[in-house]
């Protein structure tokens, strides 16, 4: 069948329809828009069922004067000016099929799947690119629109391989779903399909470029959100293909997100390839703990195995993206796991013992040691419950030397505003000048960096950076490498201080790497002075932030995990490491007894005398507070490995064996204990801002040193015990780390 015949058929059929059901649009009285609107309002049956926006979305109308009314399938809907036809349809509760349109990316309008009929327009219009106009009558369910979709589907499937049975996207593929919903039951294409050479995008993203439908979502994502100009469109017409221009890996910390936004199976997850089908997986809504952002994730598991990690929508924290570390570290959960309690024998080898024996030995040793020589260290991945239990246990034993690694030995937990992100992550979008002090957000908190980049792109905010040479994916000014620069900015003698002064909503972000510096009080004092001089903290705006590194840090400071003496490790005889692998034990006396409670055989185990296996965050319920002070809960997705137990249960059991029983037996009970210490930790999923600002801090006489700031995170892909055990993260570090 030739194209001409096809076209004439299409014309003929549509003409018939036009004569029977559609009103003729060139009627003179309908040329008047007001009259048309009135006529439509009169036409619209008043008993139309109430429709709700797609996905329960709410419309925010900034200016009530800018409201226009359009009609979607005869149903009137009020929308703010400037919205597209597609958005108007979504608010009216009609989901328009689309491939290239994505609400967080720029509009391309090249897939043509979103064609709808608009009255008085001669052709169907691409709704994603067409601005909605007052009184517009949009029809999404007419024969013309359906025919247009069917035609587009046929063209898209012309070159798309029919390999769904071996495609990893099968079951969650937009093209598959939409061809079932809108496509024709047969195609008219008999020639050979086009084939495209696969590109190597690195160890994370697998490409099958023949499946690509050229929606360019990945290209737009890479250049707009990730900030790397790695991907692009090559060739024209039927030779069009997506690729890196030269042979090159995609070096972005957000590259995994192209897997989610790809509507077909062209970009899929390499580690997940051929591992499972999405309908076999059980999804558990949980929280990421590999950095302090607390990205919302869904853990997809099959039986006892975590199969993949995908993002969950949370506008305030991670929008709908997650970093590559969050997405791909999960294979570390299967390697190097501790599964039995173990005691180190006289020959230096570990021997598996029962829980009863292990706890008895720990309790016995603990009682032989002077209380002030007992030290507890909470690890990067500890949840609030276990830290509470450990602190209570140590306090009952008479020791107050407990801290969380990453917070330094002299943490200041008095003012909550002194260690959380007061602006909130989504609040960063309002800022128009940034001063980053000793922090490289790109490696420390990739999602926060994405937010800063979004702001810089949208408002041309100025970014000043004080710290070691670092990689940024937006325009920035490198002001200096040591704290002296801060003093200059505080005095106003530095050129960047005028930029801060002129900014309406200035933001200062101090990295948590500063906590480990000897002159940290002086650095914070200098930052406070800058904040005071530039009006950073006002009643309506708090731009003074600390960007934390680890998931446990904020909760640890909220619970008051502050050591009595900053030299406690040097004189310790008994050290309880609760998942702490990065604490420096060089100065620990050789005869000290070290208990390691954790889920991975990592650095802490090398020095340990007793190992108590605990469950990882995918296996337990626990409260984590992220860097902006929002408490969130992880949920168990898979069972624990071997004979491991939940962290707080181990501490609780040890307390009983040691004869200093803690008064809680259940999660509920331990949470009510937390409530008496830090009630904000129980306000789950709701950010609790700090009450007092840091201006209440006492004067500091310390002087800043000339030691340059050091990078807090050396390798983005390997920051904790789980990521260090992951094979994929090791590959990424080898290939992508610059």
């Amino acid at each position: 069948m030739g194209l001409g015949l096809l076209a004439s058929r299409a014309l003929r059929s549509s003409r018939i329809i036009r004569n029977s059901t559609r009103t003729i649009v060139s009627t003179p009285e309908l040329k008047n828009a007001d009259a048309a609107a009135a006529a439509a309002a009169a036409d619209a049956p008043s008993d139309l069922p109430k429709r709700n926006p797609v996905g329960g979305a709410r419309v925010h109308i900034p200016n009530p004067d800018d409201v226009i009314e359009v009609f979607v399938d005869g149903y009137p809907v009020k929308i703010p000016k400037g919205m597209t036809v597609l958005q108007a349809c979504e608010i009216a509760g009609v989901d328009i099929p689309r491939f290239c349109y994505h609400s967080r990316l720029s509009i391309a309008g090249n897939c043509r799947m979103c064609l709808v009929e608009v009255e008085k327009s001669p052709k169907p219009v691409a709704s994603c690119a067409m601005p909605a106009l007052p009184g517009m009558k949009i029809k999404t369910d007419t024969p013309i629109a359906k025919k247009a979709r069917e035609g587009v589907m046929e063209f898209l499937l012309m070159n798309h391989p029919l390999d769904c049975p071996i495609c990893d996207q099968g079951g969650e593929c937009d093209l598959q779903d939409q061809s079932m919903a809108f496509g024709s039951d047969r195609g008219r294409f008999t020639e050979m399909k086009r084939s495209v050479v696969d590109k190597n995008l690195g160890p994370l993203v697998k490409t099958v470029m023949t499946r690509c439908i050229q929606c360019t979502r990945c290209v737009r994502f890479a250049s707009e959100v990730a900030g790397v100009e790695d991907l692009g469109m090559l060739g024209r017409g039927s030779g069009e293909e997506i690729g890196t221009y030269v042979e090159k890996l995609m070096t972005s910390e957000l590259s995994g997100n192209v897997i989610d936004i790809c509507p077909v199976g062209a970009l899929t997850s390499k580690p997940f390839a051929f591992k499972a089908r999405n309908w076999e997986l059980k999804g558990t809504e949980s929280i990421d703990v590999t950095d302090a952002v607390g990205s919302n994730i869904r853990i997809d598991s099959r039986g006892p195995e975590v199969m993949r990690v995908v993002p969950r929508l949370n506008e305030d924290i991670n929008e709908e993206w997650i970093s590559d570390k969050t997405r791909f570290f999960y294979d570390g959960l299967k390697r190097q796991r501790l599964n039995d309690p173990m005691i180190r024998g006289a020959d230096g080898r570990f021997q598996a013992v029962s829980w009863r024996d292990a706890l008895a030995i720990v309790a016995e040793v603990m009682h032989q040691i002077k209380p002030e020589e007992i030290v507890g260290v909470a690890g990067k991945l500890s949840d609030a419950e276990s830290m509470m239990a450990l602190k209570d246990l140590l306090n009952k034993m008479g020791s107050n030397n407990i801290f969380c690694e990453g917070n330094g030995m002299r943490p200041n937990a008095d003012l909550r505003s002194g260690y959380i992100m007061n602006t909130s992550i989504s609040g960063l979008e309002k800022a128009d000048a940034f001063l980053l002090v000793g922090t490289q957000p790109r490696v420390e908190a990739a999602m926060v960096n994405a937010r800063i980049r979004k702001t810089v792109k949208a408002t041309n905010a100025k970014v000043g950076y004080v710290g070691p040479a670092a990689d940024f994916n937006y325009d920035h000014e490198h002001l200096g490498t040591d704290p002296q620069t801060l003093v200059e900015i505080a005095k106003g003698s530095h050129p960047f201080s005028s930029a801060l002064k002129n900014a309406k909503n200035p933001v200062i972000i101090v990295g948590a790497g500063v906590f480990d510096r000897d002159d940290k009080d002086a650095v914070f004092a200098a930052v406070d002075t800058i904040a005071k001089n530039n009006n950073v903290v006002r009643p309506d705006w708090n731009g003074l932030n600390v960007l934390l590194l680890n998931a446990a840090q904020a909760a640890a400071l909220d619970l008051g995990l502050v050591p009595e003496s900053d030299k406690c490790i040097d004189s310790a005889k008994f050290v309880y490491l609760m998942g702490a692998d990065d604490v420096n034990l060089d100065k620990l006396p050789d005869d000290a007894f070290v208990v390691y409670q954790g889920h991975h055989g990592d650095r802490g185990v090398y020095r340990a005398n007793v190992i108590l296996p605990a469950s990882a965050f995918t296996e337990k319920e626990g409260i984590y507070e992220n860097t902006e002070g929002c408490a969130q809960i992880t949920l168990p997705a898979v069972p624990t490995v071997g004979d491991a137990r939940d962290d707080w249960k181990i501490v609780r059991a040890l307390s009983e064996v040691a004869g200093v029983g803690l008064p809680y037996d259940s999660l509920g009970a331990i949470r009510s204990r937390i409530k008496t210490v830090a009630p904000n930790l129980l306000e789950v999923d709701e950010r609790q801002p700090a009450t007092f600002s840091t201006s209440l801090r006492p004067e500091v006489s310390q002087k800043v040193s000339a030691t340059p700031f050091t990078p807090a995170v050396e390798n983005f892909y390997m920051t904790d015990a789980i990521t260090r055990a992951s094979k994929i993260m090791a590959q990424c570090s080898a290939l992508l780390k610059k």
Partner: protein
Amino acid sequence: MSQILKSLKVPPNSASLEEARTRTFEFFRMCCRSIPHVMEIYNLHDVVSPSQLRSAAAAEVRKNANVTNPKVIDMLLFKGMEELMNIVNQSKQRHHIVGQYVVGNQGLVQDVSGKDRDASNFLKKFYSSNYS
């Protein structure tokens, strides 16, 4: 097959509780008499003694000590006889006997030390599993 079925007779119901009681004792004696044979065919000499098996059988009977309805007792006797026949005919395997009558309800892991007799419920649960 049909020959066997014809010869198989179901005894009439017990008329009174007294009759049911006698039958129960008869059944228990039958169990006790078969114990040496059972020990032999399942090779149980190194795991259990005849007296232990006897008390296991007695415990099974005593489980239903409160039943007074003769019809129910007849039914339970029938089931018991069925179980006994299964054992004697070696329709079961050794691990069935060991699991049901030697190890019993306490499970394979038995704490005989009595070390944490005064431990709290939490600790006992903690030692057995992560999940309550």
